[in-house]
Subunit: 254 residues, 2 copies
Amino acid sequence: MASSPRSFSILFFFFIFLIDPSISTRTSFIKLPGSVDGSRYCDSWRLAAETNNAGTWDVIPSVCVDSVADYLNGEQFLSDYNVIADYVIAFAKTVEISGDDKDVWIFDIDETLLTNIDYYKAHGYGSEPFDSNSYNEWVVQGTAPAFDASLRLYNALKKLGFTIILLTGRDEDQRSFTETNLRDVGYSGWERLLLRGPKDQGTSATNYKSEQRSKLIEEGFKIRGNTGDQWSDLLGFAVADRSFKVPNPMYYIA
Amino acid sequence: MASSPRSFSILFFFFIFLIDPSISTRTSFIKLPGSVDGSRYCDSWRLAAETNNAGTWDVIPSVCVDSVADYLNGEQFLSDYNVIADYVIAFAKTVEISGDDKDVWIFDIDETLLTNIDYYKAHGYGSEPFDSNSYNEWVVQGTAPAFDASLRLYNALKKLGFTIILLTGRDEDQRSFTETNLRDVGYSGWERLLLRGPKDQGTSATNYKSEQRSKLIEEGFKIRGNTGDQWSDLLGFAVADRSFKVPNPMYYIA
C-alpha cells in the first residue's frame, strides 16, 4: 500500500513530538501528592510512563518498587500485553500483503519478545541505576524467557505473511547468544536480526532505530508495523504505518 | 530556545505515527480473552486507549461501562490527572520564557479544562454512539465544571509566564457559551480562544489543530507545550516541544 513518497508524506503530516531530549527534564524525583497513597500514585506513575507523559526517567520511583513488582508478577501485566497483541493482530489483518516479502513487521527484543524480569527482580525492578556490566552478564547467559503474548503475536504475524525484522539495541557481539536465546524459547523465521555495530555506538536509541528503518525503506521494504516496549523503538523518522507500545514500567531508554 | 528552523528539524527527526487514518481499523469489537475478567480486561483496554494502541474507536466496550464509571468517579482518575499535571509543571519550569509573550502553552477544552462527565453519565459513559444534537444542547448550557487539576495546571503555567491559547474542536457559534463557562469555573487570562470556523468544517481534528498551530508559528509564537485528552490534540504537524495526554476513556476523536 504505502509507497515511499506516500510514506514520506504520511510521516511528515502525522507525527508527534512528545520528547525533546535537549530540553527534557528529569522528573523521576517528582513529589508525591500528599493525599495520594502509594499504590494509587504508582498506578498513576505507570500510566504517565506508558503514555510518555513522564518524559525521560532514570529509575522507577523508590516508593513504587512493590507496586511495579506486583504488577509485573500478577495477571494485569499479562492482560495488558494480551489486549495489545489482540489490537496488533486486528490491525495486521487489515494490511494487504503484497506477496513480494517486502511487508515488514519490526520487533524489538528486550521486554518485547524476551523478558528480563529475572534480572530486574534481582536488581530492584528498575529502582537501581542501570549497570551495563551485570546486565551484559545476564544477556550472554541467553536464558531470557519469551512473553507468551509476544510469542503468540509473533507467530500470528508470521502466519499472516509479514516479513519479520528484529531491531534491537543489543550489540553485534551479542548476536550468537541472542539468536540462541530467541530460538530456545520458540522464535524462528525472522528475516534479519539487526544489532548495533561499531558505527552505531553513541547514537541515541531513537536515532539508531530510525536510521535502521530508513535503510530498510531504501531497500524497498514497507514497514507496516512496529512493536516495542520503548518510545525510542517507535519514535523518530521512517516510522511504521502503525506502532504499538507494549508495557514496560522498569526502565526508559531515550 | 526553539527557533523555527530548530523546531522544524526537531519535528522532522522526532515524531511518531501511531495512527494512519487511511488504514486504521475499527477495533472496538475486539473479543474479550476468555480467561480475563471484565475489570482486568477493562483496565487493559483503558491502557490501550490511553497509549493509542487501540487506534480509532467509536464507543467504549459495553462490558466496560461500570469499570469506566468507577474509574472516572473514583480517586484514580484524579490521581492520574494530578500526576500528569505535576509532570507538565516540572517540564514547564525548565522552559526559558523569553519575555516577548511568544512562549505559548496550548490547552484543549473538553475533557482537558472542562469536564463533560455530567453529560456522559446520562449517556452511558461513552458506550452510546455520539449524538451531536444532545451534546450541543449540553454545551450551550455552559455548566461544565473544571477539573481541579487542570485549573491548578492552567494557573501555574500562566504564573510561569506562558501565553495561554485555547484550541478546541467546538464551533465558532459556541464562543460566547464557551467563554462564559470557562470564566464561571475560574479560567481567565487566555490570549486567544480558537474555535472551528466555517472553513474548518469537515477537517479532521488532527489536521484542523495542526493547521491552527502552524498559523501560530507563522505569527512568531513558539509552542512550548500542549495539553489535550485526545491524540488528535497532540499529533500532526507543528507540534509542541512537549505534548501531554490527559486521560479520557469516554471517547476518541480522530
